[in-house]
Structures are given as structure tokens and as C-alpha cells.
Symmetry: D2
Subunit: 384 residues, 4 copies
């Protein structure tokens, strides 16, 4: 099936293999008139690029993006934006032997079962390099959202048992620590923990969190296209993610309704509003625009629709399956064998996946925003 597209109006299609000639993405449905240049994209790609610290794979790739279409005189034209990143550091020799057996925790076996054979070099399409297209597209989504006052931020919340202290949150660190933890102390502890795991030829898991601020109430649909449902799909589609939470997430199953409900509160007083008694509007807006919530257990989504509060999503990521310890597995002849994986692998997926989560979240929100544009006759009349 055609499984490499995401989104309905703002739709992206990614392509490319780890050791092929290039990877890329086509973004179709981006509105015309958005200022865009390659540097906007490169900034995001640089956050997922390998070889930047001791805790990422030593494969060196500059991952330079080229925009091939859809941008004219510095602005998007409304036509498809095609972007390409050439592979430059393929060392396929490292992967020759994985052609013949199935690495535990990887997709080698399932690809063979599905397609009859596979491009085994570096994992082919199932490699983490597949996310290059997601990030290039997501950079555009982030830029579009920022034009509308919406910001998306993801960071590492935990690495193994080491968690960040939310009260120590420092947004600048999010983009500068090797762990992508926005907490200097936690970052240090996590680096030590990772060094230990690496010594043991092992890998570790972790938790990513993403928050979205500035989303207007009303995005998402009531039934299957709930905003949280689409976020869950978007985030679960990132390789190695095994659980997704919205707001209080798993904790809600042990709570009472009286603890979990978020009381609505009025912001009428705190707003600088002029009341128009003729239509009961405040500064031309319906009154309910001035409503918020005392708490946010719901993570910004009620009944599948954004409620105007901060949207909060968490993803639980499994340890990198490529470990250097000897492992037991089966080869294509069905014989049990012992293997030892070579190649260049991250001891943890999380720090480089954080920007992928940010991008998938942005892509989901942009599409919901565009879907919602025609939810009311009133909106149509504002345009036509």
C-alpha cells in the first residue's frame, strides 16, 4: 500500500533508504505566500543529524537539504515543495552480513515477510534516516504555525530512570544539551548513565515530551479524526515509540472523576474587553473565547477537539535494538545462530528523535488547522 504519505490537506510524502542515493519529501498543500528558504529547513535537520556528540552514531552526514520546487522569490507558491538530502557516508560493507539473518528488535524479518526480500543496507527504509523527510516537512509546518502564533517544543523528559525536574525547565538547554534535556543536572546524570550502558555494550530507552502553545480551541474532529487520535498515530509512527500519552495519560486510569476533571474558569475580568451589548460580544469575539481551565489534566484536548490550553503529549521510546552484545537469532534458512552486530549505532534513540516528535506534532496540528477552516458556514463567508 501507499504508506509513505501523512496528512489530508497539508500532505507529505517521504521516500528514501539509509544507503540509497538520497532521501527526501514532497510537501503538497502548503498554502501560498509563506516565506521559506533552505536555512529554515536546515536548522531542524541539524537537530537530528548524526555525529554531533558522543551519544550519537559516528556516521558523519551533513544532511544538507536542497529545495527543488514550490518556492519562488522566497515564498511558497502553493505547489508541491520537493526537498532532497543526498546520502554521502554510506558504508554498506558493514551491513553485508545482515542480509542473511534477522536482527532482534529490527524490521528485517517483517520486511522479508511482507515484501519477499529487502534492501538490507543500513536497514533500508526502516532506518532512522527515514525521518529526514519528516523533519524537513515538519520544519515548514513549524514555520507556518509560528506565523499564526503557535509554538511546538519537544524535549527529552527521561533517559532510563533519570527524569528532568519540571521546575528546573530551561528552554535554551532543550536545543543545546546532547541529551536534549532542558535541565542541566539531569543532562549530566543521563550522560553518565549512557556512558555506563555503552561500556556494557547495551542501549537504553527514554521518554520524550512535546508541548504546543497557542492552539486555538476548535481543532480536531469529534469521532475518528480526533486531534489526540491523530497525534497518537503521528507519534506512534516514529520508529521505537511504544506508548503515547495525552495530558495525564496513563495516570488517569487510577484517578477519580473529581480529581481528573478540569474546572472551567472565566477570563472575562482579566481581559481588556469592551462589551457590545447588542450581540453580547467582547471585542467582537464570542464570550466563550475568554474561557480557560483551572488545571490541564486533559492535556489541551476535550472530546478530540483542542480546548485552547497547552497541548501535552508524551512518547515512550524503546532502547536502540542494535546492541554490541552477542545475540541469539535465526537466519533466512531458519537456522538458529549467534550474532554480533557491527555498524555505527546510537546507544539511545531519544535525543535525536525529539525533533522528529516536534515535527510530527506540528504536521498534525497544521493539518487539523486547515481541516477546521471550513467547519462553519461563517468561516466560508469570511473567505468567499
Amino acid at each position: 500500500m501507499a504508506g509513505s504519505s501523512f496528512g489530508t490537506i497539508f500532505k507529505i510524502t517521504t521516500w528514501g533508504e539509509s544507503h540509497g542515493k538520497a532521501l527526501g519529501v514532497v510537501v503538497d498543500g502548503c498554502p501560498a505566500g509563506l516565506e521559506l528558504c533552505e536555512a529554515d529547513i536546515q536548522a531542524y535537520l541539524d537537530r537530528r543529524k548524526p555525529g554531533t556528540s558522543a551519544i550519537t552514531t559516528q556516521r558523519k552526514e551533513d544532511d544538507l537539504v536542497e529545495i527543488l520546487s514550490g518556492v519562488f522569490e522566497g515564498r511558497t507558491t502553493g505547489t508541491p515543495i520537493s526537498m532532497i538530502v543526498r546520502n554521502t557516508s554510506q558504508i554498506s560493507a558493514d551491513y553485508g552480513d545482515i542480509a542473511t539473518y534477522y536482527r532482534p528488535g529490527h524490521a528485517d524479518y517483517t520486511f522479508d515477510q511482507k515484501y519477499g526480500f529487502r534492501d538490507y543496507r543500513g536497514g533500508g527504509r526502516s532506518s532512522g534516516r527515514e525521518t529526514i523527510g519528516r523533519v524537513a516537512a515538519g520544519a515548514i509546518a513549524c514555520k507556518l504555525l509560528s506565523e499564526l502564533g503557535i509554538t511546538v517544543r519537544a524535549y527529552t523528559k527521561a533517559i532510563g530512570p533519570i527524569e528532568i525536574d519540571p521546575t528546573a525547565y530551561d528552554d535554551a538547554l532543550r536545543l543545546s544539551t546532547p541529551t536534549a534535556m532542558p535541565d542541566a543536572a539531569a543532562n549530566e546524570k543521563a550522560l553518565a548513565y549512557l556512558a555506563k550502558a555503552r561500556e556494557n555494550m547495551d542501549s537504553v530507552g527514554g521518554v520524550m515530551e512535546c508541548v504546543v502553545d497557542g492552539v486555538p480551541a476548535g481543532l480536531g474532529d469529534p469521532v475518528f479524526e480526533k486531534l489526540d487520535a491523530n497525534l497518537a498515530k503521528a507519534i506512534m509512527s516514529i520508529g521505537a515509540v511504544k506508548a503515547v500519552e495525552i495530558g495525564d495519560g496513563v495516570a488517569v486510569s487510577k484517578k477519580k472523576g473529581s480529581e481528573n476533571n478540569d474546572a472551567f474558569i472565566s477570563n472575562k475580568e482579566s481581559c481588556d474587553m469592551t462589551h457590545n451589548p447588542s450581540d453580547d460580544s467582547y471585542n467582537g469575539k464570542a464570550c466563550c473565547s475568554f474561557i480557560s481551565k483551572a488545571t490541564n489534566h486533559a492535556g489541551g484536548i476535550l472530546g478530540g477537539i483542542s480546548d485552547g490550553s497547552q497541548i501535552v503529549i508524551r512518547a515512550h521510546v524503546k532502547p536502540t535494538p542494535s546492541i554490541y552484545q552477542p545475540q541469539h537469532t535465526v537466519n533466512q534458512q531458519g537456522e538458529e545462530i549467534e550474532i554480533q552486530i557491527k555498524g555505527r549505532h546510537d546507544p539511545i534513540v531519544v535525543p535525536r528523535a525529539v525533533v522528529v516528535m516536534e515535527c510530527m506534532t506540528a504536521l498534525t496540528v497544521v493539518d487539523a488547522l486547515m481541516m477546521n477552516a471550513t467547519a462553519k458556514m461563517e468561516n466560508l463567508k469570511r473567505i468567499y
Copy 2:
């Protein structure tokens, strides 16, 4: 947007409001030649029907389904199957006052923000009755899967802090206990816990689990249409679900790679196979069909594609937001008020939602099965 459809080839479209004339679903893309009658559907609807025990709403609805099209002489014809359930016990008077204010934890406010107004009666489209269409369609998906040797089973894993003992699992209980717990002792404890919560005019959350057996390896796609991504969307789209886990789920974030990887093992010896040396096949199948895993931390999915093991999904469900305690909220005029909710509400969502989870899972698996049918030239040649 058009948000009431689910699936790509096996596609369903649900409709209907809690206090409207009826609810229903159109199932489009069901293969021709499946034996089907109303009793097949009714068995599933009866599992979600209200009024069957002390822990469900006292609204009495028989929820009798009528098949209006797509079935001829006891078999599906390949054309759309339209099913309808008439509402018979609407008592809208109970809901008159919720027209004017926003119930905490409900979608009243977000609907008003999205659409400008809402059918407030019984929650309208955001009511749990919306799932009638999902269950009617899911019953067909389950029947289709069973023809191919695939079974889907969901049950209650926890209610508040009360968890089932997996070693005491009794599948018959799953369909007969009021809690849908497959463990008699846990069911008793949970009923006591629920009685206590009800006394306190409160509600409780819980955990549902769904397992799928018999899924062949190869379903799901590598990137955005990963089987686990689509399951996450399907399950997160059920009202009140706030987290979804696949396999070991949230636990993976604290694990090491050496603990989390599932070793492949060979079933060659244990199979009753005749080896054909000319093409190295066993009973006409490729050798790799006889591979399985020593453990199943992955929950049956590797790289987004089924691996032939049992598929395991868990959902964390928030407490029913409708509680009888006084609550603080805001009305449509933006004024803060105290409210006390009336009407007929379940103290817990989980027991009736279990069959919805089962159905959404079955719908996702059927669609993946049909998508996968054309993944290889070999399959096309088998058909044409």
C-alpha cells in the same frame, strides 16, 4: 472536515447523536461472499448496551440493529452495508440545562468553539452512543477475521487500583462479568471499589487490554501507516482514552536493549513439514514462516509490521467526567457558576468500552490485511 470515516479499503462511516432519531454506520469495502446476519451484529451491540448491570447507566435501550443494504441471501454482496439502531429512550429533559453551560471534562465547550453551537441533548455526537456504529461495523470485521483464523479479544485489565491476575485469566468471564474482567476475584474487588466511588458521587478510571491472535507476519506499512500507529489512532479515537501502549509500552523507556530485544527462534523442528529442496520451501511456504520469537516485548509488531506473534495493546481510560458532585464551571455568558449534573451516567467507562476497543482493533487489522494483499507482485499473480 469529514471526520466520521475510518479505514481505507474496509471503510466505515458512522453517524448519529445520543438523542437524535437513530445512530448507524455504513460499511463500504467489505468483500463479497461473507456470511452475515443481524444476529452476528447484535451479539456485539449487546456487549455495549446500557442498563445491563448496576455499574452502567440506567438508560434502557435495546439497541436493536437493522441491516438495510449490502447483504443478499445471507451473504455480503460487496456493496455498502448500511446498519441502523433507532433511539427509543431519549429523555432530553434531563439535559435541558446543559445547553447553557460547559460540563468539565466534556466536549460541550470545544463543540461550541468549533461549530458555533451544538446539539446539547445527551452530549449529541460526543456521547458514548456514538460508538454504536463502531461496534456494528467492528462485528463484521471480527467475523471476517475469524474466517481467516484471526481472533480479537479485549477485556478489562484494571479498574482504579484493582488489576487482574494474568495467571487467573479465564476467557469465559471476559464476556460474563459486569466489569468485563476475566478474573473472578478481581471482578469482585472492582465491584466493591465501584460501589464505594458511587457512594461518594464519584467515578473511576481503568485499563483495557486487547490481544489479537493468528495475525500473519507482514501486515502494516513501514512509515506512516505502521500497524501500531493505526492501532494507536483507532484506540485513542475512543472517547476517554488518554494513553495507548503496544507490547511492553511505557515500561520500555526504563529498559535496556539487552532486556527488551526479543530473540528470534526457529520452529522448523516442531513443524510437520515436508522440505522441498528444489526451492528450499517447506510445505510450499518460505522457510521464514517458521520463525517465531522467544519473548514478545514488542507486542507482535516490529518496524510497524506484524511479526506473527500475538498483538498486544493497552488503553488507559479516564474516569467518567459526569459525576454527581457539585462542580465549578462557566456558562455561555462567561460567568462562573456551580453545577450539579443530572441524567443517567456510568460510574466507569471501561466495561462497556471493552467491546469498542475490540471492534476498533478488528477494523484496523482488517484494513491492514486488505492493504497488504497487494504488497507483492506474487500476490497479484495469485489473483489475476
Copy 3:
């Protein structure tokens, strides 16, 4: 496959068979706040209803529509609108024998080949009654368009060799003549021609035309989702249509560029405009809004995008395949036989199909309108 849905944002799903219990449609994605009642729908259904004149089948069906969801207090709520029409005059006995052989020009054979068997009663899903759902949904699309100043009108342009005189066009006749011809003289001649064909136990073909006025420039997309491409699909999907033309249509293949190009002209002078020199706008609109064309060979679409002129579409419809003359065919055993068709059939498809063409056109335009709403950043900023 799921082939009973049409549209991307304004999406409809039809269901039902000729001799089943009922037929219907679910309209998903209709914006909230549109005034709507059953009478709005019934007016369109009455135009395709059988038994209203000597030139339609004598099957009597009132085709009364019931709205089951999605409308509250006289307005659409934004949730799916489910509509149902019960079958009341099925006389399946007439069709018993067609179970065993293949009627020429019908879909009996192709259904058997596709699905393995078929609901043969009255043609099942391939009956013209399938269009009930299209018309019910199209009535909503027409109402929505009229709110935005867009009108859609279809009529019979020719019946066999009898063509209307465009200079005699009388819009009132379009809805009142039995032929749906907007020209009294042509209507008379066509009725005589039809009477003759009926005497000969034969049927005749014809041409339908549909014009859309008030469509703003900018609808449709440049490549595959061209407005004319989607119109062609919409109209060719009506049973019995064998050709679709846009604007001058087939005539263009014999023309020169100098004859076929439509010169642009300026309406600046004729408009009551106030020029704002600061941004070179006229009454707040860009100047190019005041451009039109001297001729309209293009039929209102350039490069797949509406140009602000009248949209013109024509459909060529084959003669009803059900004729009462003896015919040669093959039965399910593969034996050649002579047959004589019974039942109640229209001698011409066109007069009742005209409203179907109008509805399919409206559905296509509405969806294009909603798709186009987010084509520019400027539009998004107008909404958010």
C-alpha cells in the same frame, strides 16, 4: 474497495439497492450553521422520482426522505447528516429470471465477475435508484452554494436528434417539462420522438448540460485535482453517461488557437469602484478580480482552475439498455439464449438524470470551494 464515497472535505457515502429495504446517504463535512430541513431535500428528490409522466417507469415511489442526524433546531451541526428513503414498491417477481442470465448493456455480468454473485433484483446496486443518495446529498450542496451566491442548473439539451434552441431557453420550463427541456417546442418534438421509440419497443439517448454561475475564480487545483477533472469523474460516474465535455468540448479538436483562445477584458470601467492608490485595490479587492473574458470557449476553467466565468459541462447519455425487443445473450451456464426483458423501465434516462447531474456538479464545486479555502496564508489569517 470502498467505492461509494465522493468528495474529500464535503464527503458523501451512499448505500442501498433497488429492491432492498431502503437507500440513503451520509453527508460528512457539511459546515455547521446551514439552515436545512427535509423539504429542501424533497424538492430535489421529486425531480428524479419515477412515475411522474408517460416517459418514466411506472414504478410508483414517493421517495420520501427522512433526516436522521446532523441537523438540530433547523441548522446543520457540522456532524454527519444521515438521510434515508425507504423502498415501498418493490416487485421483485418481475426480476426473478434475470438472476440466471446477463442483460445486454447492463452490469449483471460485470457484477458476477467482480463479486462472484449479485443481488439481481431490479439491478441491485447498479440500478438508477442508487442516485437517490446522490440527489439527497446534492440538494444540501446546492443549498450551501446558493448561500454563497452560486447557482447550478442542469437541463436536457438533446433527445436523440432533437436539440433545444439556446435562444429559446426558458429556465422555468427546465423544471416543468416532462423532458426537462427548457424549450417548449423542442419538448413537444422530443415527446413525439419518444412515443415513436416506445412503439418500436426501443429506447433513445440524449444530452444533458449543466451550467454554474457565480463561482469565484480560483477553485480547483493545477494537476490531478483540476476542477474539470473532478467534474468529469463526477458526471461520468452517473450510470449511462459515455462522454463528458467542458466548454466547447469535442469541438476544440477541430479549432485553431486563434479561434479557441478567450481574450481577457477589463471590467474596471463598468464597476462601481473606489480606487485605493495606497495598495492599488478597488473596493478592497485586488484589481484582477475585475477581469473577465470576451468569450467562454473554455467553459469557465483554465488550467484546471475556475476563471470566474460560467462553468459549462455536457454529458452524453446512452439509450436505456432495458428494451422490450427480443435480444440475444448468454446465461450463467454460458449458453446463448434469446430473452425479452420485463419490468418497468424508462424509454430514456436523461430527463430524470438531469437533477443527478446538477447534484454531482454541486457536490464537486462545494468540495473544491472547501479545498480552496486554505490555498493562501492570507485566508488562514482571515480565519485564525
Copy 4:
């Protein structure tokens, strides 16, 4: 909207502008295991490449394709196939002046209205070069179909008033004459006609025809996804096409049912069949597989589903809108002006569009084939 994708299972996404860096396409959903190399694609691109004869634009482009992903060791892997063609002969200076005014018959005005501005160089996305992606993808579709015994052939049927003589049809000429006419005499006459038009600084229209042989009965769906509906969309989406016919097309509107119905005939006798009386099958096939039609007015499609006969489609193409005669138009300031178009333009679109029609037809048929694969339970059981 995202309008640059075509197909549901076999889905393509094209991108690129006339004078941008490159054009290309991503083919997603191609089954694994199809042998494929760049030469397979190049053969089709060479048929639409400019500069090959006196009747095409003198822009010289080699249009060399590079496959960037989805092929491994000479076979498709089931993952997206990304293909790119670099632009090498852009002479944008020729187009500088069209930035400021609207060429008659072109999409300049409608793009400005839709997007607010446009990449005017060479027509940008609305250029005929957009079809490079369609042809590259269509070449794969053609190869896949040929593996299943299905062949697709398009050719020029008429140029202005010059028509081919069907009895003189010579398939070899189809690929070798500059007009793509499969009739040597007609080709000569058409070349003379074109030379005359060119002398008059004018352009001419024409007719393309495409036939598909070997399609099994059963492809296409009964309602909106009729095979002819999807073909109509596919072909009407080719720039400059203004009418699409299936089978007898426009001629049916003047015919009687008794003339237009195709009688079914049995091929039982002519087949080398062994009858199995136990299940009434012949060589293991249902009897109805041996049914064909005495005539083919229907063009191979009944009720939207292929009937096993040759599929016949015709497209009417307008004269190239770029003519060298002076023309009247309006500039972006809304002022009426006289213009004279420069640049390099074909005097007729048809000869180079023929391969585009062939490719769009193949893409439609492949997708229908894949959609139909799961129409029957029987097929699913053959795969799983």
C-alpha cells in the same frame, strides 16, 4: 489542497516547475518484486521529450531520469520509488514579460487568483513539463500491467480535420511518426496541415485515442469509483483536454437502445476446455469467464466495471494556447493591452500528449486492479 497525488493504492505524487531546478515524482504502493531500471522509464520519457521534430518546441531537454529510491538489485522493494529529471535548458528571459499580464487560454490569471502570485517562468507548475512525473510513473504502471498480460496503447486519432483510417492502423507507426499517428498517409497530411497553421502563426487541436487489451472483467467499482469515471478524471486532468469519451462516446446520444446494446456471446465452443460437471467449471474457471460481446459500443466497461473487452477512451485536445499572433488581454493592473507571445511552443499538443494519455490510463488501470484484489472473500483466502 494537496492536489498533486493520483491513485489510492498505487499512488503517485508529482512535483516541479517548468523553469525550476528539477521535476519528479514519487511512486508509493508499487508492489515489491517488479524488475525495474532507468531504461524502462527513459523509453517513455523520450516519447514526450521536446525538440525531436519540427512540430515540437525547440527547447532542448534530454529529460534524463534518475531513480533515487525504492529499487534494489534491479527490483522494486515495495517502498516509495522517487524519480527526478533535472531541468537543463531553462531560458527564463523569454518569459519575463508574462509576469505582468495574463496570456489568453493559459492559467496565469487563475493561478494569480488562487494563490495571490505565481512562478510565471515558462508557466511554472501549469507547464506541460508537469507531465514528466506522470510519464515516469506511468512507465512503471505499464511495466507492471505487461507482467499481467495487459497492454496500453495510445495514438493520435485526428489533427484538426485530418483523421486516421482505422483500417490502415499500423502499430509500429504509432511510436515513430512525428504526429504519433499510426497511419502513414494521415501522418503526411497532418504534417502539411500543421506547417500551414505554423505559417499563419496559429496552432491546432486534435484527438487522442487509447486502447487497453487484456484487462480482466471485474475492475472498477459500481458507484463513484467506476472505472470509466476514474479514466475520465485521469484523462481530463491532462492539460488542454476538453472532452473525454468511452467507447462510442458522444455518438450514443443519437442512438437507439437496439443499436447500442452489445449482445453477449459464448466462447465455450471455441475454447479448449475440459468441463468438470461436479462444480460446473471449465478448466477450473467459472463458465462466465468464457463470455464475450458481439460488439463493443460500451468500450469495455459496463456499469463502471470492466467487461473483459478492449477498453477504448478518446480525448479531445484544444489547440496550443501559445500562438504568435497578436492577442488582446489584460495586465495585472487591470488594463487592456495587446501582446505577442515569445518563447518556444509546440503548434499542437497532441503528439507529445499521447504518451501522457497512455500513462494516465495505465495508472488508473493499475490502481483499479489493486483495489479489486480484495473484492471477494475468495481472493483474500487465496492470499492468506
